[in-house]
Symmetry: C2
Subunit: 189 residues, 2 copies
DNA sequence: ACATATTGTCTGCTTGACAGACTATCTTCG
DNA sequence: CGAAGATAGTCTGTCAAGCAGACAATATGT
């Protein structure tokens, strides 16, 4: 019985308990597949999919400062530093000091970067299409829309006053002592 | 035409070109948020979200051999080895040699593991609910359904003859020479 | 029986992430 | 104005995660 995922019209029990029907597992699987495919699609762009997103942001002029970009992409600022170093070395983006605040530097796409992005965008679009291809034609847009809505929600970019505290909730409620250390294994050390 | 997703009624431009409407960015953001929340929710389970999924599979009896489990979860078999070591050390799962093929070992939940999983499942369910809470009540199940359908597709578990070649497609079509090496930065080396 | 493939484990190396220190700049407030 | 504190970005050091490859045990095919 473990995984009756029929879910059709009635599905009595809250959760079929099959891995295949688990939300977390599903999003993980889809994410991995997407990331892997994009990795291949963007080829030699430094930073892989991440680098691509940085380039996207830069090319569309919504990158802003390194800090805001890093936050939006969910990467550490130190990571952003060398990610940009590599992207800059490849002549895809450039950093320009913000005249208004000389501490911060804004990220822009170079001309070459913009061109490259256009190609890439097409390729990545294909990946996306192929992936979504598993859904019936008429649901694809709906799915995309919902996914983006969720993304906006968790990043606090929708109107919601509550920027999705999912994390916070447990972060405090649990006070998990956190596994002492889950390194490799005690090997011969 | 790369991916004009608006296409709804009129929307002139092919793509708002905003990161917020990018499929890849969105799935990444949602995935990160979910993973982080689950990490907090499962607390001290070795391996974090990953360990939780292994436990899920074990508890519902769908784990199978280490190999099949590893493949299904998208982790390397060497990683699965020490993941299971830790889980076993915590008395959550156990490995039993498959009598039919003594090379392979099947994974099961211990009694303690099963109990623990029940609690965890509830907590993780909350995370999921909270996350989906951003969608209107009536779309949630639809979204879940579509996501799971996609997951089944990319993992080749739906009926499809084509187990989603997204990767393959570019893996060969591009022959990307792959960035020479994108290590840290050249520092003082 | 022998060659070859497969499962799981172990070792070593590389990559990637994060904490913390440091510099330059901005802000605040006396 | 000038000192104190905050903030953006960079750099260094450390450590965990992951992978490639070797290996042992077992299975399969000829």
């Amino acid at each position: 019985m473990t995984s009756q995922r029929s879910l059709g019209a009635e599905a009595p029990e809250p959760r079929p308990s099959g891995l295949d029907d688990d939300f977390g597992f599903a999003i993980g699987a889809v994410f991995r597949a997407y990331a892997k495919a994009v990795e291949a699609a963007v080829g030699d762009i430094p930073g892989g999919p991440r680098g691509y997103f940085v380039l996207s942001a830069a090319a569309t002029g919504e990158a802003g400062s390194q800090k805001s970009l890093a936050e939006r992409l969910g990467v550490d600022r130190t990571v952003m530093t060398y990610l940009l170093d590599d992207l800059e070395a490849a002549d895809l983006v450039e950093r320009r000091p913000d005249p208004a605040d000389r501490r911060s530097r804004h990220v822009f796409a170079t001309e070459h970067g913009a061109e490259r992005w256009e190609e890439l965008r097409a390729r990545v679009g294909l990946v996306e299409q192929h992936l979504l291809g598993a859904l019936p034609e008429e649901s694809r847009e709906a799915f995309r829309g919902m996914l983006c809505a969720l993304a906006r929600h968790v990043t606090g970019r929708d109107g919601t006053a509550d920027p999705c505290q999912v994390v916070v909730e447990f972060g405090i409620a649990e006070e998990a002592p956190r596994a002492p250390r889950r390194g490799r294994r005690r090997s011969a050390n």
